[in-house]
């Protein structure tokens, strides 16, 4: 195995320490130094009064979103047509919103709400403004519903169809659903819910656009007001702890689900189908999922009439920055995943330590991760230029997904097949290029796809690290959005959508081909 190679172990550890460890150490050292100078700063790490209210509100918003996504995503996944069938395209179409950043969804729903207000005003009904907790909850649920549905589909694919068939022999469809299908898929469904919770906790774009003050927003506001990184680090401690508590149980099941071997056809291979009543409810969930796609398309297309095309053309350099950033982040993530993934798959002390190290960046809110990258950049300024820092920040934030997915894939790999590759190797590199790489390729493609999408839509950390004149499309749109949903924003969102699709389609196709070929 790769992990028996000393060179591999050393380079994997060094790479992980450099990318994941350095910003964390820099943040920690800075916070400790500040605490030693002024011990009273310690109170920032203990939520009380206003910060406690903000933390509770953040947890409530993220928790409600996660539960809504769990229910609707599970329902929708039960009735979606199989990917290989004639209606397989419908399944793919419903996942398109996954490539769109949260604030673009927010724009679409703002526009839809405005349109609805105008329609009902004709019959003298005045709807309240689409603002506040409810609006933020609705939009966040729409944003993460495709992700929750995808996780639910992965959960079903991991269930041995014979277990479901066995349940059908002595029980109804509903009984099989409640007693066998849901409990067996439960761990992965729960993990998906926790992942949505963590992503919501870290997002500040939607709460800020709907005037909901959350903890992540407070961190950004605090940094903007004081400029003191150590304060933000200490202030972030409660949120990081909450997110870590949710992440640790979630990550393993999700990675396992994503890297499940192609032979596992799961529930779809069983004769089980939801009963008529359950199917009705599930179809409602699919309608909800479709509503977001239709809403996005109609809203963005209809908003184009007021577009200032000069602004759109002017945004071309921003789009180029986004694509370049995604490319470099993917390259870095790939290197890290290949080097550190095998170490994580190992249950050694080193593997477990690296796993914990990799989990922490996932729990960090965007602004804190950004400040960490800034600090790390200042520590080794000669090596990291201002151009490289954003790509390193993205790798710090999102490469953990790639490392964990590769780690999970290798942990589930057929050891005998791997060893056989070693035994029959006749030329140096045969094992690596003909056995090991092809085995991890589908998961690697999926991981890089995920990283690219997250990078293209990221705002919280990018705001901190992008050098002047190097504004990616996400920041351009985010800045425009604060002036309202204009035609220019719609046009930019469509451009971002097109860029995300361009990045997604080749990655998705290669993943699917590799996954199908086993």
């Amino acid at each position: 195995m790769a992990t028996s190679n000393r060179w591999w172990r050393l380079s994997g550890t060094v790479a992980a320490l450099a990318v994941f460890g350095l910003p964390l150490v820099a943040l920690g050292v800075d916070a400790i130094r500040s605490l030693m100078v002024n011990p009273s700063l310690g109170h920032l790490a203990i939520p009380s009064g206003r910060t406690l209210v903000l933390l509770v509100r953040s947890c409530a918003l993220a928790g409600a979103t996660a539960v809504l996504c769990l229910v609707a995503g599970t329902g929708a996944s039960l009735v979606l047509p199989p990917a290989s069938g004639r209606m397989g395209w419908l399944r793919m179409a419903l996942f398109v919103p996954m490539v769109i950043p949260p604030y673009v969804h927010a724009l679409a729903w703002m526009r839809a709400a405005e349109w609805l207000r105008r329609v009902v005003a004709v019959v003298d009904i005045r709807l309240p403004a689409f603002q506040g907790f409810g609006a933020a909850l609705w939009v966040q649920a729409m944003v993460y519903l495709p992700l929750a549905t995808g996780v639910a589909l992965a959960a079903w694919s991991m269930i041995d169809p014979q277990l479901v068939d066995a349940a059908l022999m002595r029980g109804s469809q509903d009984r099989a659903l409640w007693r066998v299908v849901l409990p067996l898929g439960g761990p992965v469904l729960l993990s998906g819910t926790l992942l949505v919770f963590v992503l919501c906790m870290g997002d500040l774009s939607i709460p800020s656009l709907f005037s909901v003050n959350t903890y992540a927003l407070e961190l950004y506001a605090h940094f903007s007001a004081t400029g003191r990184i150590s304060d933000v680090t200490l202030l972030a401690v409660p949120q990081v702890l909450v997110c870590l508590a949710a992440l640790i149980p979630a990550i393993r099941s999700i990675s396992g689900a994503v890297s499940a071997p192609a032979t596992m056809e799961g529930v779809t291979h069983s004769v089980w189908r939801p009963s008529r009543w359950t199917r009705g409810l599930c179809v409602c969930a699919v309608c909800l999922l479709s509503l977001d796609v239709v809403g996005l398309c109609v809203s963005l297309m209809s908003g184009l009439h007021g577009a200032t095309w000069v602004a759109v053309v002017d945004a071309a350099p921003s789009a180029w920055v986004s694509v370049r950033l995604a490319f470099f982040a993917c390259v870095l993530s790939m290197i890290l995943a290949i080097l550190a993934g095998p170490l994580i798959s190992n249950r050694s002390r080193l593997g477990q330590t690296l796993c914990v190290l990799i989990l922490i960046p996932l729990a960090l809110p965007g602004p804190v991760a950004g400040t960490g990258a800034l600090l790390a950049n200042s520590v080794v300024h000669s090596a990291w230029t201002a151009q490289v820092a954003p790509a390193l920040l993205m790798a710090f934030r999102f490469a953990p997904f790639a490392c964990l997915m590769i780690g999970a894939r290798l942990a589930r790999a057929d050891v005998d097949a791997m060893e056989a590759g070693r035994v029959f190797e006749r030329r140096r590199g045969d094992w690596m290029f003909h056995v090991w790489l092809p085995m991890i390729l589908p998961v690697l493609a999926a991981a890089l796809l995920l990283v690219a999408l997250l990078v293209v839509g990221e705002v919280g950390g990018t705001l901190m690290v992008m050098p002047p004149g190097q504004q990616p499309l996400s920041i351009t749109i985010y800045n425009y959005l604060h002036y309202g949903a204009s035609g220019t924003v719609s046009a930019l969102c469509l451009a971002l959508f097109a860029a995300a699709l361009l990045l997604t389609i080749p990655g998705f196709l290669s993943w699917r081909r590799a996954w199908r070929s086993g």
Partner: protein, 219 residues
Amino acid sequence: MIECSALAFSVGGRTILSNLELTVADGECVAVMGRSGAGKTTLLRLVAGLAVPSEGTIRVNGEVASVARSIRMAPSRRDIGFVFQAAALWPHMTVAQNLLYGMADLPRGEARRRMMDALDVCRVAELALRLPQQLSGGEQRRVALARAIAPHPRHLLMDEPLTSLDADLRSELLQLVCEIVRSQDTALVYVTHDETEARTVGGRQMCLENGLLVTSGSA
């Protein structure tokens, strides 16, 4: 009674079963043999209602259960016990819960009594509170058998239930199956690729070849 007439099953343009005729009377034992990929498991899944036939009709107890491209009677209404090739025990339920699942329509006391009887007969009564992953391969097979017989089904379908067990355990479990079938007067369709097993089960022996079922002997 199970009656299959003009039964056919194809998938992806490949014919697995064609024009198959099979009748299993109440209390009768039928052993179905055939090479790997001959369609033995498919036949059992069709009878159980876990797969939809391409052509033909399946009747269970005189009622139409499946017709071409349609399942008319849900698997749970066919009064069939199924022992899968892998034990297929639900990993999140204890042994007792695995058995009780199929007897939800019975009064609780009666269900518990039948569960204990089935576990006793299969000699795994002491494992009732264990989870499947805490059992050995042989114990899992016994529990799978107990789960199938506990509700006293009129028909029992067994899909190579003793594969990958050692010879001693296999012969012991096979004897157990025969005793149970005789004592409960259950119709048995036993799928295997082992001729000795087929002979031990007794009754009619049939062979699946090129999608057709032919009689090869009787005990």
